[in-house]
């Protein structure tokens, strides 16, 4: 087990394994997403309160879960890269930030499209949407810092510190926003996230969530393969990879 992880830390091995994994992840993920969409859009009955508008849940909630999950993974792999100087971990952290930002964006957009029929407006300063917006700012800060520093390794190390600071702050920000939101209640009717959910709705939701996760791993591997190539550009194995095609 440990030797496997150890090997995975070596860029050529990672590049090869990732290249082999990507198609598998792609097919399984596509299958899960199609199944989830069929279950969510066709099989699941309309909600008795929200009608069909709740069907946005099948992309909204997994996006929101992914946005947080990716941030944690980005910060952890950043820390691994910072402490043990593992290049693959640095590449994974660098590849995670844009994907995480996209999922945060999706959570916001789908949340606001769900909010329009439910609340009558596209945007409500609801605790979850506000936290998600701040998370988007945190992602944009990480991406901005990474692109502002020329040297990739310095950029990775600086970004790792920033994302760890962000990780420590996320619970504090979340708590503050929740507290702030309870003070200004009235405008918010939290309909997102029903307390009890029927199995016919829960099952597609979980399938979609799993599909999202595999999708993320696939995109992550694709992006970090490119990162690893760029970072190792002078080495022998990259030359071999490039010449053999």
């Amino acid at each position: 087990m440990w030797t496997f992880f150890h090997k995975l830390g070596s860029p050529p091995y990672f590049y090869r394994i990732a290249g082999r994994l990507i198609p598998w992840l792609g097919w399984v993920c596509a299958g899960l997403l199609v199944a989830g969409l069929y279950g969510g859009l066709v099989l699941a009955p309309p909600d008795y309160q929200q009608g069909d508008s709740y069907r946005i849940i099948f992309i909204h909630v997994p996006s929101a879960w992914m946005s947080l999950f990716i941030y944690v993974l980005m910060a952890v792999s950043g820390a691994v890269g910072l402490i043990w100087r593992i290049k693959v971990a640095e590449a994974i952290a660098a590849a995670s930030a844009p994907v995480g930002a996209w999922f945060t964006f999706l959570a916001l957009i789908t949340g606001s499209l769900w909010g329009k029929p439910m609340w009558g407006t596209y945007w409500v300063w609801d605790a979850r949407l506000t936290s998600e917006l701040i998370l988007l700012f945190l992602y944009l800060g990480v991406i901005g810092l990474h692109s502002a520093i020329e040297d990739r390794r310095t950029a990775s190390r600086a970004t790792a510190v920033l994302s760890l600071v962000g990780l420590v702050n996320i619970p504090i920000i979340h708590f503050s926003v929740e507290w702030w939101n309870t003070l200004h209640q009235g405008a918010t009717v939290t309909k997102i996230g029903a307390p009890s959910i029927d199995l016919s709705m829960l099952l597609p939701l979980l399938i979609m969530a799993l599909g999202f996760k595999l999708y993320y791993f696939m995109v992550l591997l694709m992006r970090s393969r490119v990162e690893v190539l760029e970072r190792e550009r002078g080495s022998v194995w990259v030359r071999e990879v490039v010449q053999t095609g």
């Binding site: 502002a148 600086a158 510190v161 600071v165 702050n169 920000i173 708590f175």
Partner: protein, 221 residues
């Protein structure tokens, strides 16, 4: 400890020599605050409703304006590199710089808070809580801001990036700081909010210098 005092004293001396650096953020704050009655309404009840929020937001912005100067001069003349190789723990020296930064920016802000309160029709009791919230909250801004400055110190276009990095992290302080003031105006308990600010202060005192020191080492190599 001696190194701590020496760094703080040196920064204070430098700041006193360039007095405009202390005065400018204060003037910025006064001017921006006086824009709100002109832009929204001079009616006392309106002002009282928005005063806690605008005073705190403007305080955030004026601290943000001054953040860049925290390590800038030391970076330019090379004394920052001296600090990195000095035998004293870097986190301690960074704390000294943060303390000096607060004494130059946060403390004056605290001292003009009665004036800000008067401009926005806050009564005496509210002004006291405003000052208390600023006293507890502005050091947090300096501490957290130091991490952002340390990360961007070597960059040419660091200014706009710095606000992107730092402002989201300022949100909890803004929420509790502004709310302490509006709570006392509504006759509600405000000690909880001040205690939260105190907790943030202790937390950032413990962790921010370490993070800022690590960030400095990364951006200086």
């Amino acid at each position: 400890m001696r190194a701590f005092v020496a760094v703080t004293r040196r920064d204070l001396l430098l700041a006193v020599r360039r007095r405009s650096e202390i005065a400018n953020p204060l003037l910025f704050m006064l001017i921006v605050i006086s824009l709100f009655p002109l832009g929204i309404s001079p009616a006392p009840e309106t002002l009282r409703l928005i005063a806690p929020g605008i005073i705190w937001v403007v305080a955030l912005l004026s601290v943000l304006l001054t953040l860049e100067s925290m390590f800038r001069a030391d970076f330019d003349d090379g004394s920052l590199e001296q600090m990195l190789v000095s035998p004293h723990p870097l986190a301690l020296l960074v704390t000294a710089k943060i303390a000096a930064h607060w004494l130059v920016t946060g403390l004056p802000l605290l001292l003009v808070s009665p004036l800000l309160g008067a401009l926005t029709h806050l009564n005496a009791a509210t002004t006291v809580v405003l000052a208390a919230s600023l006293a507890l909250g502005t050091p947090v801004l300096s501490f957290v801001g130091a991490i952002g400055v340390a990360l961007t110190v070597g960059l040419r276009r660091g200014g706009a990036l710095l606000s992107l990095l730092v402002l989201p992290l300022y949100i909890p302080t803004l929420i509790f700081g502004a709310n302490a003031v509006s709570a006392v105006m509504d006759g509600l308990p405000y000690h909880g909010q001040l205690m939260m600010l105190g907790a943030f202060l202790l937390f950032s005192l413990a962790l921010a210098p370490l993070a800022a020191a690590a960030a400095l080492r990364i951006s200086m190599n």
